[in-house]
């Protein structure tokens, strides 16, 4: 995540004695390397799934999972001749996207797509459907959103997860790309293709995104800072689950928010850390770094375009969680004398 790199750079200017290294891997690898002790802080686009939570929490002697930033997912496409300035944004619904990824809608001139975009005459071209080939939180959020929003997806039995068995792959029209760059490259190089990527990645690379219908309101919206903010600011975030428990059901919290102007596929990304440490310096460094991230790091000037800082009540919730980081059972927060 580019935001993490940017945080680290700013943080090390203030605390040159604390060195933080970030390794940009998929969420699955992030969690796995954290579990095996290669990483002190695991970053993931979706919380640790319920079926793994107990195992990982036990292996680490208790963990703390906390949201760190607000992001969204955009649908990118490559349709020669379809020009947004002329025909408006490409309109899509969850049901249409589900049926495209299920392999049921095969051609761009399918009545379901044509009906949503009456101003453009779609050619009779097969749809090339791009997804992630690595295990990814982006896939988790996208499939969870399809699951929540489309009865076609629910009845298909595909479900949701870091990886799923995409039915469209069996038709020869599915493609897998590694990471956001891999998906983007495949969409760019294949005419009549479609894919999903992180909103921030699409913004940074200047890629046009489709307008997606929020099933709660019926509105078609493109992801923008404004439409993502509308979603976050309309959710009641006052009673979040305990950060030391399985928080996997938090993923759905920001999806399909019922508020005017709210983009449907909005999500937190998360950090996961060990709760107790036997190395005081490490415990202190992690505490100080994360404390900085959730205070100065949340200033709008530090946040990259395409992400949004956490709302203030969520920030407070996380800062309280950080007080639970302990060194041999004693809170690091008090050992440090409540600095900052």
């Amino acid at each position: 995540m580019p935001q993490m790199n940017s945080w680290i750079q700013d943080f090390e200017k203030v605390y040159p004695n604390i060195q933080v290294t970030y390794n940009g891997v998929g969420s699955g690898a992030g969690i796995n390397n954290f579990r095996q002790g290669a990483y002190d802080i695991g970053a993931t686009d979706a919380p640790i799934p319920s079926n793994l939570y107990a195992n990982i929490s036990q292996a680490k002697g208790g963990i703390i999972e906390i949201p760190d930033i607000v992001g969204a997912e955009g649908i990118i496409y490559n349709i020669p001749g379809f020009n947004q300035s002329e025909y408006g944004p490409l309109n899509l619904t969850a049901d249409v996207l589900a049926k495209i990824y299920l392999g049921q809608i095969q051609y761009w001139d399918d009545p379901a797509i044509q009906q949503l975009n009456p101003h453009f005459k779609f050619p009779h071209q097969p749809i090339i459907v791009v997804h992630r080939s690595d295990a990814s939180g982006t896939t988790y959020v996208f499939t969870l959103w399809l699951y929540k929003s489309s009865s076609a997806w629910r009845s298909s039995g595909v479900g949701y997860g870091f990886t799923v068995n995409w039915p469209v792959d069996q038709t020869g029209r599915g493609l897998g790309g590694k990471g956001n760059p891999g998906v983007t490259e495949l969409v760019k190089s294949n005419a009549y293709s479609i894919g999903y990527v992180e909103f921030q990645y699409a913004i940074a690379n200047n890629i046009t995104m489709a307008s997606v219908q929020n099933p709660s309101t019926g509105q078609f919206l493109q992801p923008t800072t404004q439409t993502v903010l509308s979603a976050v600011s309309s959710v009641n975030l006052n009673s979040l689950p305990s950060p030391t428990s399985d928080i996997s059901n938090m993923t759905g919290l920001l999806l399909n928010v019922n508020a005017s102007g709210a983009y449907p596929i909005v999500t937190f990304s998360y950090l996961v850390i060990q709760k107790n440490y036997s190395d005081f310096n490490k415990a202190a460094a992690i505490y100080i770094f994360l404390h900085w991230v959730y205070t100065q790091g949340m200033n709008q000037s530090v946040i990259l375009t395409g992400y949004l800082p956490l709302p203030t009540n969520v920030r407070q919730y996380v800062l309280n969680a950080l007080n639970q980081i302990t060194y041999n059972g004693q809170p690091v927060y008090t050992l440090l004398g409540g600095v900052q």
Partner: protein
């Protein structure tokens, strides 16, 4: 004499550890894979649907790559050995050695961003249009595909196969040529007879190339399409064993999942070893034959 022997024994002491260490590492690698794969044998049935596409893709991509490499490598060999002037020959040999040493990620990037999109709108579209009635060329060409991965692989292994074939080809005694010329036959026949003479050596070289291709990871992962499915069309995307492992290994969580990756690695190592052994047998027997002929 004694001093010489003592020296020899000393040098044993010097070189033995290296040889021993390598042998132990190779054996322990097998043992390590096997032990780690054990839980997966127990659950093997559960993972068959996941594995089959990878095994199928590996077989298809590698076989097609070797088939494509046959004309490429033999052509290059004959051109270097028989047709090109000395100056050109040296340049060609250097270029082909350089190609064999290129980092594979370079081939992968080239395949993904240049060759794939280009072939998709030209060759693949053409084949699909006129031969699409055949299942192996049906479907929607997607650029990245079994065929693209095979072509990138063929380009990668041909210089290697060619240098092996060249070595054997040049071992055929020139007296054979004289006999052919004496019969009033021309250069073309000489080449044909020489090639016929070393056909087992060529098979061995290609088996070695196969062994190399079967384990290629980066370049194939980037060009095969990253899709866990069995597609009958060569123009469709799929997955191979190394690409599957590279894409998903870091993400494995439960012990059974990890074990299944080790089992796949073991299968891959098995295939690679079998081909290496076959190649050894072919090439050895060829060299023996050529040498016997030279002596007679």
């Amino acid at each position: 004499m004694n001093a010489k022997r003592a020296k020899l024994e000393k040098s044993y002491l010097f070189f033995l550890p290296g040889a021993l260490a390598l042998t132990i590492i190779v054996i322990s690698l097998f043992v390590f894979l096997f032990v780690n794969a054990l839980p997966a044998f127990y659950y093997a049935g559960k993972y068959v649907p996941e594995f089959l596409p990878a095994i199928y893709g590996t077989a298809v991509v590698t076989t097609v790559a070797v088939l494509l490499a046959i004309p490429l490598s033999i052509g290059l060999t004959i051109f270097i050995a028989e047709l090109s002037p000395k100056a050109v020959r040296d340049v060609l040999i250097n270029i082909s050695d350089l190609m064999a040493a290129f980092p594979t990620v370079v081939y992968g990037l080239w395949g993904l961003t240049e060759l794939g999109p280009f072939l998709k709108s030209t060759l693949f579209a053409f084949i699909n249009r006129y031969l699409g009635f055949l299942p192996v060329f049906s479907g929607t060409p997607t650029g990245v595909s079994y065929l693209l991965a095979s072509m990138v692989l063929a380009v990668m292994i041909s210089p290697f196969a060619s240098s092996l074939i060249r070595e054997i080809y040049l071992q055929v005694p020139r007296s054979l040529d004289e006999g052919v010329y004496a019969l009033g036959l021309g250069r073309w026949e000489v080449v044909r007879i020489r090639l016929g003479f070393i056909k087992r050596g060529i098979a061995g070289a290609l088996a070695l190339a196969f062994g190399r291709a079967v384990g290629e990871t980066v370049a194939v992962a980037m060009t095969v399409g990253g899709v866990v499915a069995i597609n009958k069309s060569l123009l469709s995307p799929g997955i191979t064993i190394p690409a599957y492992i590279a894409n998903l290994f870091g993400e494995a969580f439960s012990t059974v999942d990890v074990a299944s990756f080790f089992m796949l690695s073991l299968i891959l190592l098995g295939i690679g070893t079998a081909f290496l052994a076959a190649a050894r047998l072919f090439i050895l027997s060829e060299q023996r034959e050529v040498r016997t002929y030279g002596k007679a």
